[in-house]
């Protein structure tokens, strides 16, 4: 585990960087990249709590992301409700969904959890695609409303999105940091390594897996809300898609599963790669970026199962020995 001092200095540095970067570089494409980077780092960190720390792999986080996105957008669209309330509702609904998925499966050994998350996410996508109130497969557009904080709509600047996400990113990072060195964090790691020994130490493993999942779901839903409000259009095939679920996991794996800085490292590489390949390769619409993603996952898994963090650790260990 990283020392608190080390963490604080790196954390401070990262925050300052994100604080000033969009003020210096006014290029909107770059600003967009920064926002995506913050969003996906936060998402992946939220996933990391259950998938990395507690070792319960969820391949269905898109359901929470989508729930959050719809909860912010649909009431705004239909009733003009401020998305901040929608966001809170989304967070709560996601937590309830986490209980419904987790309750039957966390008592079981083996791959039941993976299958359940994967399958439930697909079902949720189908349900939204058939739900008239949210315009089914067509999805929702943000209504033309007065811009400002009440509606969390800004038509001429990206900065409010950037700084709101930055605050949220900081909160989630801080929670993850505190959690890692709290009793809960130790319990998560114990559940991942030796569930039976953890039980013998008095850990209610079912309950703690559930905690991890609920917290993770909540943060993921908030990210979903922010995403919807930022891109202004959501539909089941994007916000509830398997692609989102995969991307979240991939970033964590690429950076290093269960490590505090893994998500940021992974997101930096993947999101830059993705955004620039989108710009350079253009909208072929034939999923070249996904081909690259798929190949990347296989290659990382086969050659460096510990991710970039593992690579750095191995490298620094070699250097110390030499």
């Amino acid at each position: 585990m990283q020392s608190a001092k080390q963490f604080t200095s790196i954390f401070g540095g990262v925050l300052v960087l994100f604080l000033v970067a969009p003020l210096i570089i006014r290029d909107t494409q770059f600003q967009h990249l920064m926002i995506m980077l913050l969003l996906f780092t936060t998402l992946s960190q939220a996933w990391n709590l259950i998938g990395g720390f507690a070792g319960q792999v969820s391949l269905g986080h898109a359901m929470f992301f989508g729930i959050g996105a719809y909860a912010a957008m649909a009431p705004l669209n239909q009733w003009g409700l401020t998305p901040w309330i929608g966001m809170a509702i989304g967070g709560l609904v996601a937590m309830v969904a986490a209980v419904i998925v987790g309750y039957p499966v966390f008592r079981l050994k083996g791959h039941y959890f993976v299958i359940s998350t994967f399958a439930v996410a697909e079902v949720v996508r189908e349900l939204f695609s058939n739900w008239d109130w949210v315009d089914g497969p067509i999805g929702l557009d943000a209504p033309l409303v007065e811009q400002g904080w009440r509606n969390f709509m800004f038509y001429h600047t990206k900065l409010p999105y950037h700084y709101t996400l930055l605050i949220f990113f900081a909160v989630v990072m801080f929670v993850a940091f505190r959690m890692e060195r709290s009793r809960m964090g130790y319990y998560f790691r114990a559940i991942k390594q030796r569930p039976e020994a953890a039980q013998a130490m008095g850990v209610n493993i079912t309950l703690f897996k559930q905690y991890a999942f609920i917290i993770s779901a909540f943060f993921t839903a908030i990210c979903g809300s922010m995403y919807g409000l930022y891109v202004l259009h959501i539909e089941p095939s994007t916000v509830l898609s398997l692609d989102i679920s995969i991307k979240i996991v991939l970033i964590a794996v690429l950076g290093g599963i269960g490590s505090l800085w893994g998500p940021l490292l992974g997101a930096t590489i993947l999101i830059s790669l993705q955004e620039y390949s989108r710009i350079w390769l253009g909208g072929t619409g034939r999923g070249i970026d996904l081909i690259v993603l798929g190949a990347l996952i296989v290659i990382i898994c086969v050659y460096e199962p510990n991710g970039i963090v593992g690579l750095i650790k191995r490298f620094s260990r070699k250097k110390r020995k030499a």
Binding site: H111, I246, R286
Partner: protein, 288 residues
């Protein structure tokens, strides 16, 4: 409610159920021996369907005749996947292998999408396609009936292979205790590779038959992967007989549910069934 319609639904549920069964048995085989969730299973199915489709469209070989070719191709795809993707990961946690096959599924799906585009393709005029026969006022689709029949036969063949052959004994020994099996002189690496090959060959059979009555498109595998996982979990892990029966059950549920509640909810129903079953019977319907 008209009895004929009800019987008709049961028939089509059963017919598609047998195909589900074979796909699930292929997955269950790999799962049981290696404890690996192969997320590319549905993509293997998609590859089988496309192989069959293009052999028909380009070379005019009827899907029924090209079935052996498809099966062989899929065997090598499965064995190759094991050799290049799974084998290097055997010492690591199950999660890594799971993610690797997950990555593989994205790769395969999008490669196919890139080369052939997203369109749906249908075979209308093969030996089997589009034909029906009737018994006592009930209609049977010929391609579905043939598919069901062959799937039952292949599943039975796999059952015989596992229980009666020398390979089957070695495979069962390996799945019980890999290290001991190795000490006994069983080449577990070879066993794993063959198992992966056979698992893929199962979807080869299923895919080669499905193409006669099911549209082919790059994303066709996705639903089948979800279904196959749920079926295997329903039946009980590593229990091939359970997977077979659960496949039939899921076939009935999708068909009946699709008719009575609406086709858009048929997978929702299957998943609800899965949640209810594992809540009541944590080791699946036929596990213990």
């Amino acid at each position: 409610m008209d009895l004929t319609i009800f019987l008709q639904l049961i028939i089509s549920g059963l017919l598609i159920g047998f195909v589900f069964s074979l796909i699930a048995v292929g997955l269950s085989l790999i799962w049981g021996v290696m404890d690996i969730l192969n997320f590319a299973h549905g993509e293997f199915l998609m590859l089988a369907m496309f192989t069959s489709f293009f052999l028909f469209a380009q070379l005019g070989i009827d899907p029924l005749y090209s079935l052996p070719i498809v099966v062989i191709v899929l065997y090598f795809i499965g064995a190759g996947t094991y050799r290049f993707v799974i084998k290097p990961l055997l010492g690591y946690t199950v999660l890594i292998a799971l993610l690797a096959t997950f990555g593989l599924s994205i790769l395969i799906r999008n490669l196919v999408l890139f080369f052939v585009g997203p369109n749906y393709r249908v075979i209308n005029e093969s030996i089997l396609a589009g034909k029906t026969f009737s018994i006592g006022g009930l209609y049977f689709s010929v391609p579905q009936s043939v598919a069901a029949l062959l799937c039952i036969l292949v599943t039975y063949g796999i059952y015989l292979l596992l229980t009666k052959s020398k390979f089957g004994r070695a495979l069962r020994a390996t799945s019980l205790d890999k290290d001991t099996a190795m000490l006994m002189g069983i080449n577990t690496n070879r066993i794993f590779e063959i198992t992966f090959g056979i698992g893929a060959a199962c979807v080869g059979v299923a895919g080669g038959l499905l193409v006669n009555f099911y549209a082919v498109f790059p994303e066709v595998g996705l639903n089948f992967t979800v279904l196959a996982f749920v079926i295997v979990a329903l039946g009980g892990f590593g229990n091939n007989g359970g997977a077979f029966l659960a496949g039939i059950l899921v076939g009935l549920v999708t068909t009946m549910g699709g008719f009575f509640i609406g086709p858009e909810y048929k997978y929702t129903l299957v998943f609800l069934l899965y949640l209810v079953v594992i809540t009541i019977r944590p080791k699946g319907l036929f596990g213990w």
